[in-house]
Amino acid sequence: MKNIKYLFIGVVFGLALTKGEAISWYRIQEMFRFESFHMFGIFMTAIPTGALFLFIIKKQKLNTFEGEVVDMPVKKYSHGIVIGSLIFGFGWALTGACPGPLYAQIGSGSWVTGVTLLSAIAGTWTYGLLQNKLPE
């Protein structure tokens, strides 16, 4: 079971999301109303941490633990990114959750969030259905 390690990393990630209250609907409302630094502090420490280590990986030409060349993330632009991101922002304000926190909210005992997750899956499915008809 070589995937088990990702479960453990997920546990730590989920614990940080939960204990950092990034999965809290209250924190998300507070963030969008600019009434606290908390959530911005999470982003403003998470991103430089990631960036610093990616810089080190690149600079030192580090390989993965299995000896592969590290495949650096590349994101391509399309106008759909703007449209989709705005729609996701609306949903984030409503549910107080992005996809990661949905899983953590369910784990924390909010079973009704399972409905939100099912609806998110339905949203992804609907996007797949309409993909060719939507502006890219």
């Binding site: 995937n3 990702y6 479960l7 990393i9 997920g10 730590v12 990630f13 989920g14 614990l15 940080a16 939960t18 204990k19 809290s24 609907w25 998300i28 409302q29 969008f32 630094f37 999470i42 420490t45 998470a46 941490t49 990631g50 280590f53 990616l54 590290v70 495949d71 994101k75 391509k76 632009y77 399309s78 990114i81 703007v82 449209i83 989709g84 991101s85 705005l86 996701f88 922002g89 949903g91 984030w92 107080g96 992005c98 996809p99 953590a104 784990g107 909010s110 009704v112 409905v115 997750l117 609806s119 998110a120 899956i121 949203g123 499915w125 996007y127 797949g128 259905l129 993909q131 060719n132």
Partner: protein
């Protein structure tokens, strides 16, 4: 023992979240991203011959283990070692929520809004079902979410991810100020 129940400050949670990016890359050349799990579930359960869902999802099944781990992390942090105190949000946010008749601000989310019986009300339906739909639809359209664009993409200095993250926030800010008050008043 009390320390296990306390919430973590942003300067502890943030770096741990950010460290996931190099860790996943070094451990197995994996790219942090969670909205892709929604696509995976579609591909595994209801591919319906849609091109977006016709791929070998089992090859990427690591992210389903990762998502399962997040749920376990939520269980540990939000249930087993749940903070007994309400989330320490600012006074102005508390006053704002009180103004919509939300009195019980305990837990990580307001149980007065997110519960089974409110699902059949217009307000609950909009917040959970429509909100969830927009999260799933929007993140796939945007090719990523807060983790894939906001954390991984920005860490890798990808400008499309900067556009995406700015648009997440623009959407959320506009919606919170212009639309959400009407929904909370329902």
């Amino acid at each position: 023992m009390e320390i296990f129940y306390k919430p973590w400050p942003w300067y502890i949670a943030g770096p741990i979240i950010g460290f996931t990016v190099p860790l996943l890359l070094l451990i197995g050349n994996k790219k942090l991203g969670i909205s892709s799990t929604l696509r995976q579930i579609c591909a595994a359960c209801v591919p319906a011959n849609i091109s977006l869902f016709r791929y070998d999802w089992k090859k990427d099944s690591w992210n389903l283990f990762f998502a399962g781990g997040i749920a376990v992390g939520g269980f540990l942090g939000g249930y087993v070692f749940a903070n007994p105190d309400p989330v320490a949000i600012s006074q102005s946010t508390t006053a704002y929520l009180h103004s919509f008749g939300l009195t019980d601000l305990t837990g990580l989310m307001p149980s007065e809004l997110f519960n089974w019986s409110s699902l059949v009300t217009l307000k609950g339906f909009l917040m959970m079902v429509v909100g969830g739909f927009m999260v799933g639809f929007g993140t796939r359209y945007a090719k990523g979410c807060t983790s894939g664009h906001g954390i991984l993409g920005l860490s890798a200095l990808q400008w499309p991810s900067l556009i995406a993250t700015m648009s997440f926030f623009l959407g959320g800010i506009l919606f919170s100020h212009l639309v959400l008050p009407y929904i909370l008043s329902l």
